[in-house]
């Protein structure tokens, strides 16, 4: 009798444990976005209450009253305004799939997004920008349930050498950057015309020959960061797990030689070689108004 009782008790205890676990899994209420959030950018502390009136003055026309990117102007824009409810951000210092730092969002406000309708908000005060960062975080519960990722470390830039440029060029082939960005970096690779972003809207790969200002910044560090973090919401993937830091720097150096209208140290070094000079000169097209200078 006693033995049976013991056995039953043991079974009951054994049953209760997984049952408790399961109940915990099932009863998790859906997280709600927080109404009051702060942002921390350097010495500044932004407050969502202060950001609200700014948002409903400057931002909601495109990003929408609910922050879902469906503002009045949104149908006329490409790429579409960010959806703050989904909280997927392009320019981050954190790994792909994680939330950006407050500083990343703040930098995006300062910089604006080249080739899009998002202007620079450098005209606002720093405090206003910090307040806006705090406010847009109130649209998504992700800011309650998740923490921003750990920033991807950027080691010091190694010295620029010709080997570095050449190795970067090999990596451009090996990692198949050209499949989208094209052999000359003009954004015309074989897959370029098929690309869509996460809203199913067509999107073009970056054309390196037009400018040195990409969407997420223009310094060598910014370029390094872009292919380590990827550009979330677009076809540009993260290479953080598959490329060594020194290789990534070589690739950065090589990308600068594709920007043949931008006088960078990398381009100067590339043009100092016979091979490089020929490649760069071949890219310059003269008399483009009529196309008369284009050699078939």
């Amino acid at each position: 009798m006693l033995n049976i009782k013991k056995l039953c008790l043991n079974v009951a205890v054994a049953l209760m444990l997984p049952a408790g676990l399961v109940a915990q899994l099932a009863d998790q209420p859906a997280a709600k976005p927080s109404a009051h959030l702060e942002s921390h950018v350097g010495n500044l502390t932004g407050h969502s209450e202060a950001g609200r009136p700014l948002y409903y003055r400057y931002c909601w026309g495109c990003h929408g009253a609910r922050g879902d990117g469906n503002g009045e102007n949104a149908p006329y824009l490409t790429p579409q305004p960010r959806n703050f409810v989904a909280a997927t951000f392009k320019c981050r210092s954190t790994p792909t799939g994680t939330l950006p730092l407050d500083q990343d969002l703040y930098n995006s406000l300062v910089r604006g997004f080249n080739f899009t309708n998002m202007p620079s908000w450098a005209a606002l005060t720093a405090q206003s920008r910090a307040d806006l960062v705090a406010f847009i975080k109130t649209f998504s519960a992700r800011w309650v349930t998740e923490k921003p990722g750990d920033p991807i470390p950027i080691p010091a830039e190694p010295k620029l050498t010709l080997e570095s440029l050449k190795h970067g060029g090999e990596l451009y082939q090996k990692l198949e950057c050209w499949k989208c960005h094209g052999q000359e970096g003009r954004g015309d690779g074989p897959s370029a015309s098929t690309l869509t972003d996460s809203n199913d809207q067509p999107i073009r790969p970056f054309n390196f020959t037009t400018t040195n200002r990409s969407k997420c910044g223009k310094t060598n560090q910014d370029l390094y960061r872009i292919f380590m973090t990827g550009v979330d919401g677009t076809p540009m993937p993260s290479f953080a797990d598959v490329i060594k830091p020194e290789d990534a720097w070589d690739l950065v150096h090589y990308l600068r030689t594709l920007q043949y209208n931008n006088r960078s140290p990398e381009l100067a070094l590339w043009e100092s070689t016979k091979e490089g000079r020929e490649i760069v000169n071949a890219k310059h097209v003269q008399n483009t108004y009529t196309g008369s200078g284009i050699q078939p």
């Binding site: 009951a12 799939g97 198949e176 797990d241 598959v242």
Partner: protein
């Protein structure tokens, strides 16, 4: 003494149900997924822009949006218990998703919430793995040939389209489910959900272009029930 007896009886009942959960003798729901009507004709995939993959096939493979088999059977349908079964913790084994010949193997991969997902690249070309979730986090990673597997997991149940931006014909699906009672139909369209303890369940079948269907089923003891699903095929 009576109270003691009652307690013991209650515990004995609990023990009995524990046996039903743990034992392999639970009920079974099995059946077949078929279609009626004319399914769209799958087009051959043009892989000419990726010669390393194109040469792996004697003739171009067909798209896998709708894969049918003998007897009007429908493949790549995930059949799962959508209601009635408790959420389960993830198993320790990883679900494997392979990129081979510029296609996803399997085309539809079902696994559990928080289960490890291992993605491998067996091709001689770079792929980027870009799942497009709405509830989970969206990430996008490059995987050149010869690099180690990518390990990820999802913490919310969702059907997630997966694509490779470099090779626009590559499409697949992750079915992230809350419990282990699921089955994906392969050749023949058959599925089987075993070890279901007695109870009332909702069985759902999901197909990437034909949507989902549900049926309720009640299991008592160790009985085997048959549930069949018929999807309406669209010719376009």
């Amino acid at each position: 003494m009576q109270v003691k007896h009652a307690v013991i009886a209650g515990l004995a009942m609990l023990a009995a149900s524990a046996v039903a959960v743990a034992g392999p003798s639970g009920g079974t729901v099995s059946g077949k997924v078929t279609y009626e009507g004319t399914p769209a004709k799958m087009k051959p995939i043009d892989m000419s822009k990726e010669p390393s993959c194109a040469k792996m096939y004697p003739s171009p493979p067909l798209a896998e949006t709708v894969v049918t088999g003998a007897g009007s059977s429908l493949e790549n349908v995930v059949v799962y218990v959508s209601a009635g079964a408790p959420d389960e913790p993830a198993p320790s084994t990883a679900a494997t998703f392979t990129q081979k010949g510029c296609r996803y193997i399997p085309h539809l991969l079902a696994f559990q919430v928080n289960q490890e997902l291992k993605i491998t690249n067996e091709d001689q070309t770079s792929h980027n793995i870009h799942p497009l979730p709405k509830l989970n986090r969206e990430w996008n990673k490059s995987q050149p040939p010869g690099t180690p597997p990518i390990s990820e997991k999802y913490d919310k149940a969702e059907f997630i389209p997966v694509k490779c931006n470099v090779h626009p014909w590559m499409h697949g699906t992750f079915a992230v489910l809350k419990n282990s009672h699921f089955s994906v139909t392969r050749d023949g369209g058959a599925f089987s959900l075993a070890n279901l303890p007695p109870g009332k369940y909702t069985i759902t079948a999901w197909h990437e272009s034909y949507g989902d269907q549900s049926q309720d089923v009640t299991i008592s003891g160790t009985e085997a029930k048959t549930v069949n699903f018929v999807f309406k095929a669209k010719p376009y």
